[in-house]
Amino acid sequence: MAIISRGFKGRRQQDSPLDRVPPGQYVTNDFPVLSAGPTPLVALDKWNLTLTTETGQTTAWTWDEFLELPIEPINVDIHCVTKWSKLDTNWEGVSIDTLLAGVQTSAGFLLVESFDGYTTNLPLADVTHGKAWIAHLYDGEPLRADHGGPARLLVPHLYLWKSAKWVTALKLSNEDRAGFWEGYGYHNYGDPWKEQRYAGD
C-alpha cells in the first residue's frame, strides 16, 4: 500500500488521457534530450547502416541508398524511462520489415550499435510487423543530432532507451546480449505498460 503524501494534489490528472500514459509517466510538450555522452556528429557521406544476419551475411546502405528505400510516415507516442511521455510524435523512416525483406534469418534477437559505441538489445519479434523503424525525419525536418540524427532506431512500444540514437549496425543474433543501459541495471525488455524500468521490475 503506497504512502499517502500529505497535501499532495497532483495537477495533471485532467490533462493526461489515461489510456495513453503508462504508469508513472507524465506528459510533456517538450522533447527532452538525455544522452550519456557528447553528441556524435556523423557526416552523411560517412554514414552507413549495416544489417548482419546470425550467419554473417551483411547488407549495407549508404545514406543515398537508405533514402531510396520506401519511407513511411510514423505517428506514435514515445515513453522515456526518466518518466516523460510525449504523445502524437511525427516521424518518417524506413520500416525494419523493409530492411529484413531480403534477408533469411531464424535469429531471435537484434543487437543494435550506434556511432558513439552505444548498444541495446531487443527480441527480433519486437522490431517486426510494423513495430519499428529507422527514422530520419522528425516533424518533417531532418532529425537533429541531439535527438539521434542522421537516423535513429525507433521502437515506440518500449522505453525510449531501446530506440538507439545514431544507429549504424543491426546484428541478428541467436543469443541475447545486454546493451549499454541494460548492463547498468535497466530492465532487459523495457515495457512501459508493465513499468519495466529497472532489472527485477
Partner: protein, 249 residues
Amino acid sequence: MERTAVRGRLNWLAAEVVELIDETETVRSIVLDCPGWPGHRPGQHVDIRLTAENGYQAQRSYSIANSERGQQVVITVELVDDGEVSPYLVGELVAGDQIELRGPIGGYFVWTPDLGGPLQLIAGGSGLVPLMAMVRLASSDRQVPVRLLVSARSWDSLIYREELVRLAGEMPMLHIDYALTRTQPSNWQGYSRRVDKAMLEESAWPAADRPKTYVCGPTGFVETVAMQLLALGHDPKQVKTERFGPSGG
C-alpha cells in the same frame, strides 16, 4: 569503468523528512532518513513517488546530493514554476512527512575515488547537484585532485555556495571556478559570462592530463560544453554527461 548491474527488484522504501535546507530562493535540499537504503555512489539518482488521497500518483527522479554511507538520502530540488511535483517538495513538505523512494538508479554517470582522476566537474545551475556529491566524496577522500567549473545566474542563485567556498579554502586539491552569467557581486573576481572554449582552456584540466570529466545541467548547456571539450581534444569516452529537463516539474 565499473559496471554494477542491479540485482533483484528495487523496492519502494518509506523515507521520512528529517531536515529542510533552503539553498536559494527557489531551491531546497531535503534530508531523508530511509531505513533499508542500500547505499549509493555519487552521481546516482533516486526515484520519488507521491500519492494523492484519491490514489493519483506521480514519480520523478532526483540526483542524490550527499555522499555519506548510511541510510540518509539528500536530494536538492529546484522549484519549477508550473511544475507538478517540485512545488510540493519545495513548498509544502515539512519535517516528519513521509515520501516513497527507490534506488539508487544509474551506474554510468558515477564517480568514486577508485576511478581515479584528475576529476573535472562542470555544472550548469542545478546540474551541480550530482557533482556536489562527487565533490563531497572527493573532499573526504582527499586523494584525487578536482577542478569544478560551475555556472549560475548570480551568486545568490548558486546552490551550496557557502560550502563550496569553505571546501575550496580547506582543500588545496579542490579548485573551483565560478561563472555568474547575469549579475555579479561588486569586486567580483570570477567569470561573468557563459562557459565558452576560452574559459574551459583556462579553468579545466587540459586534455593531455586525461581527466575524468562529468558535465551536468540543462541539455543546451551540456551540449555546448561537451562540444567545446571535444574541440579542445578531450576523449569523448572520458566525458560523461547528465542532462536535466525540461523536466516538467
